[in-house]
Every structure is written in C-alpha cells, then in structure tokens.
C-alpha cells in the first residue's frame, strides 16, 4: 500500500505541472489586469506603469510563469492584491466557513442517500422506488442558483423562517451559544440546498450498487442459511455495496474545501467560494491562480484518497 501511494504521488507531479501551465496560460490571455480593472480615471498612465512594475506585471508571460511556479513550490503563493495578504492566509481565513456547510451537507446527503438507496433497491419496482427515482432525477437536474433563489424567496422572504443571507445577523456581536444558534439559522438554507444537490446522484449510485449486489450468489447463500432478511440486507449486501461507494468520499474532498461558489454568492455566505468568485471579477491574479491550483491539488489528492479507501475497504485488494 505504501509503495502504491508513493507511485501515485510521483505520478501527480507531471499532472500538476500540466495544470499549472494551462491555468497560467488562460489567465495570461486576459487583456486587462488588476490595475486596469481598478484604475480610477485620475490615476495617470505612469502611476499605472509603476504599480505594474511593483507587482511584476510588466515582465513577459513565460518569465512570470517561472517566477510564480518557483514561489509556489516554496509554498509562497504570492499576495492577494485585493486583500493585501498572502493568498494562503486568505484561503485559511475563509475556507473554514465553506467547510462547515460542506461537512454538514456531506453528512446529511450521504445518510439520506444510503437509506433511500437501500430501500428503493430492496423494494425494486415498488411505488416507493418509483417516487424515489423521480425525486432523484429532479435533484440531479436542479440548477443550484435557481433552487437557492426559490428557497430564499419562499422560506426566507415570504414565510420569514430563515434569514435571507450572510453568516450572522449584522450588529449582533453576541458570543458563545447565541452566536452559534444565529450562525446555525443562517446556515440552514445553504446546507439544505447543498444536500439536495448531492443527494440525487448519491442515491442513484447507492441504488445501482445495491441492485448489483442483491443479484449476487452469496446473497442467495445468506438467505439459504435462514438468516433474517434484515441481516441479509444490512450485513451481507450493504457491506459489499459500500465498497465502491467509499471511493466517492474521496471525490467529495474538493467540494468540501473548494466551497460552492454560486450558492455562497446567492446566500452571501462568506466562504472561500464567494471570495474566489470576487477575485475573478476583480482579476486578482495571485489569488485566482493560487486557489485554482489549490482546487486542482485537492482533486488529485481526492482521487488518491478514493483509491486508498477502496484498497482499505476491499479485503481482496488490502492484502496485496
């Protein structure tokens, strides 16, 4: 297993280099840059040139790439122009807000998906299964921003059940428990939407995986042993269905830390996704490049984590 991980890490290096080149090339295509985006009329041309020199924007592209890549290897992602802080600190401050709603949504969606997946597989062709299939399709095709807006309109504005947006009521500088409940109330809608978005795909995945397993011979053997149906389904079938599903945990990694850009914008949730979206609008290159690489690394680590989890879960591979 250790050898496998080393090999996979080594394989990541060329991929990362490839990604960094593509991302840098895309952002280099943009004609304007941070200065022109922020230039107010009274800023003279020389002033703009000076600023560009300070930020090193006047060097040819390939040179800027090597400087940027060089720093990055040393862990220095450069400073975000907008926040005047190192990119890494900006990421650190905001990423945990996204992580909070991400982890709750992950827990809820996995829990719901497992239960519905198992029962709709067990009672295939039943009414419950048909309803679940339809709901799954709807969840999978939800445009995230539209559902967000709908919930805000009906649940927050009209019925006043939840705050419209943001992470905490402004002006209420309470601490401890009251602050916690306030944030919880604010986070309810974003978590609800995030859960809906991912439950659809997961449920279908669990259902297909269960259907595949229920048809296997060892389930027939389990029943021939006279085991209760509950044991057959939850011990024998579910354990086997879980193995391929565990790999999905790995793929959730980028979502957890990457934040839901669009949702955070709609709910004005101060997560890393929201900041990242602004950085693109403001052409804040260091942050934009740095965070995109961060996401790419997360995806690669996620893939590796998925394969490692698969190895641990499946005894046939674990012993190799």
């Amino acid at each position: 297993m250790k050898q496998y991980i080393i090999r996979r890490l080594l394989q990541m290096i060329p991929t990362l280099i490839g990604i960094s080149i593509i991302i840098f090339a895309i952002s280099a295509m943009v004609p304007g840059d941070y200065i022109t985006a922020r230039a107010n009329p009274n800023m003279s041309i020389e002033k703009q040139e000076q600023l560009r020199a300070i930020y090193g924007l006047d060097k040819p592209d390939y040179q800027r790439y090597f400087i940027w890549a060089g720093n990055m290897i040393k862990g220095n992602f450069g400073d975000s122009m907008q926040h005047k802080q190192p990119v890494t600190t900006v990421i650190n401050t905001y990423v945990w807000n996204s992580f909070v709603i991400g982890i709750f949504a992950l827990f809820f969606s996995w829990f719901i998906a497992m239960i519905t997946g198992i029962f709709s597989a067990k009672f295939q062709y039943s009414f419950f299964d048909k309803v679940v299939t339809l709901l799954v399709f709807i969840c999978m095709s939800l445009p995230s921003f539209f559902i967000g807006l709908l919930l805000i309109k009906f649940l927050a504005l009209d019925l006043k059940l939840f705050p419209v947006g943001g992470m905490s009521t402004s002006g209420l500088n309470a601490t401890g428990w009251t602050y916690f409940t306030d944030v919880l109330k604010h986070s309810f809608l974003p978590i609800m939407v995030l859960t809906m978005l991912s439950t659809g795909g997961l449920t279908r995945y669990f259902r297909t995986s269960m259907l595949e397993v229920i048809r296997q011979d060892y389930i027939r053997t389990a029943r021939a042993k006279g085991l209760k149906e509950r044991t057959v389904i939850f011990k024998h079938a579910f354990r086997n269905a879980m193995i391929p599903a565990i790999t999905l945990l790995g793929f959730e990694l980028p979502g957890l830390f990457g934040g839901a850009m669009i949702l955070e914008q709609i709910f004005a949730w101060p997560g890393i996704g929201h900041i990242y979206l602004n950085s693109i609008n403001m052409r804040d290159y260091p942050f934009m490049l740095g965070f995109t690489i961060f996401l790419a690394v997360l995806t690669l680590l996620g893939n590796l984590l998925a394969d490692v989890l698969y190895g641990i879960a499946d005894p046939r591979i674990r012993l190799k």
């Binding site: 050898q3 080393i6 090999r7 080594l10």
Partner: protein, 321 residues
C-alpha cells in the same frame, strides 16, 4: 509419413506479473512452458488438461492471436512470427478457430449471415451474390436453415450459435482448425450433434484439428492422438488407442480414473489426487506434479523429468516410467 501441417518447437508463453513502485516485472505466470508437438494433415490432435494447464493459450499462440514469448511455430513450413502483418493476414483463411463460449463469440449487432460471410470480402470475393450463395451453402452444411441468414445471435440457442461459429470458420475453406473447447458449454444431447458435425466435416473436407478440451471422453471419441498437459507442460502424448489402453504418467492415470462413468455397476479403485492445482504464478520445483503425485519421491522435487519417447511414438515426462 503425411505432410506436417503445424510444427511447434519449445513454445513458451509467459504473462508478466508487475509489482513495486515502478511496476517492474517481478515474476512470470508460465502459462505455456516449453511445449513441442507436430500435427499432420488430416489428423486431429487432442489437447487435454485441467484449468490453468495452458491448453487454450497454446491454441491462440500457434495461430498468433496472442504473441509468443519464445519458441517457433511453423505452419506449412512458414514461421508465422516472421511473416509481415499483411502476409500473415492473407494466410489467415487457411487456419481458423472455433471458440468455447457461444454467447461471446458472435457480434450481437450484426446478422448471422453477415457474420459468416463478411470475411470473404476481405479475401478477394467481391460479388455480394457469390458471398450470399456460399454463406447459404455453408449454413446448410452446418445444419442451419436458410431463413436464419437475417436473424441476430440473440435469437439462437447455444448449440445453434456453435454451428454459426463453425460455419464462419468453414466458409474460408481452411486446412487447419483449432477447436477451443467447442462443446464444453453445451448440454449432452446438443454436444453429440456438434461432435458429429465436426467429425463429418473432417471426413468431407479433409480438415486437420487441434481439439482442446477438459473432457477426456469427448477427446477419445474425436481425436487420433492426444496430449495431456499439466500446469503449462506436456506430461504425456501418444495415439488415442495407446494412451487409453496403457496410460503411463501418474497424472493421466488419475485424470482417467476421476471421470465418473455412467454405469452404476462399474467398480474400480479410483485414484483421488489430494490437494489443489497449484497456481501457475509459482509452480512447484522439479516435476510440477510432485506435490500431488501418489508416487512422488525426492528426485521429483529436485529435477524436472525428461520428456522422452518410450517407444511406439508414446512420449512421457516422468522419472518412474
């Protein structure tokens, strides 16, 4: 002596096992380990053995359907592995193969008639009418009705699909056919039909067969000479009549005694081999059979026996014969 159609010398086929950080080859599955034999025109040679003994791999390697590791394969005197790709392709019609699994050996998306006849287009026959004519004729020879030309494989039973597979090979007017367990997946009553068809075709078209099977009784019925294989090596080979009258290698004897006889009054002291077939990834040292052989001794563990002719063209590889 009749012309030698297929000559195989010291054929080896190893499948690499990779491991370690850089996927280096750390070992070899010796599927076929130094096997030599000859097949004369009009003869049918049987290859018998249990799973993992390499009989199917030999069938595919001598037709160059997968690449050999070592050794030479001469078909009508020509070394198949030295022929350029196009020339090998042009020789293909002469040497055909019939597969075991009736369900995966036919393309589900094309009509049966097309499946049988399409190869003709790539070997010089261009007129569709001629092709259709030859297809219908071959189908009839193999016991398929003409109206089935336009049907699709999913509408046929296992036995009929084997007939289609045979027709597909037969239409090329081959001289040599490798039959890779053609009847193992069929029921007994259908098996008999296909066996009769194969022996009729051999008689009428002077075909030469390499007949691969795990069922000794079917091989006894169809073949003139039989080779018994164990874990990638040939342990015994002789004429069918000689082999069944006077089996020499302990494995052949055990193999024959293990076959259940459909006669309740038949009493015999059966040799039941203990233990399991070892994995071809790390075969036992010396004689590969020593771990299960009832008469194994020290020499068998250290030294592999020589595969030699003990008279009357009866080859065997055992220290005690």
């Amino acid at each position: 002596m009749k012309e030698v159609l297929m000559q195989v010398d010291n054929l080896k086929k190893y499948f690499p096992i990779t491991g370690g950080v850089f996927q280096r080859t750390v070992g070899n599955v010796k599927a076929v380990d130094d096997v030599s034999f000859r097949i004369h025109r009009g003869e049918s040679l049987g290859l018998v053995g249990e799973s993992g003994c390499g009989k199917s791999t030999i069938g595919r390697t001598i037709l160059r359907l997968n690449e050999k590791t070592d050794g030479t394969v001469l078909f009508q005197g020509k070394d198949l592995y030295k022929l350029p790709k196009e020339e090998l392709r042009r020789m293909r019609p002469k040497m055909q193969i019939v597969f075991q699994d009736p369900f995966s050996s036919l393309n589900p998306r094309i009509k049966v008639g097309q499946a049988i006849g399409e190869a003709l287009y790539d070997h010089g026959v261009t007129d569709p009418k001629v092709v259709r004519e030859r297809v219908l004729e071959t189908m009839n020879i193999c016991g398929l009705a003409s109206y089935q030309y336009d049907r699709y494989p999913h509408e046929f039973s296992g036995g009929q699909r084997q007939r289609i597979g045979i027709a597909r090979a037969l239409i090329m007017n081959p001289e040599f056919i490798v039959a890779d367990e053609p009847v193992s997946a069929l029921d007994v009553s259908i098996q008999a039909q296909i066996i009769n068809l194969l022996s009729d075709l051999q008689r009428d078209k002077q075909l030469t067969y390499l007949f691969i099977s795990h069922d000794l009784s079917v091989v006894e019925h169809l073949c003139d000479r039989v080779g018994v294989m164990y874990l990638g090596s040939m342990v015994e080979m002789s004429s069918t009549e000689e082999l069944f009258r006077n089996p020499l290698h302990p494995y052949t004897k055990a193999l024959m005694s293990a076959i259940p006889i459909p006669d309740p009054t038949y009493k015999r002291d059966r040799i039941v081999l203990q233990g399991d077939i070892p994995s071809p990834a790390n075969p036992p040292s010396g004689c590969k059979f020593h771990t299960r052989c009832p008469i194994a001794s020290d020499i068998c563990k250290q030294q592999a026996p020589e595969y030699r002719d003990v008279g009357n063209d009866h080859l065997v590889a055992c220290h005690f014969v």
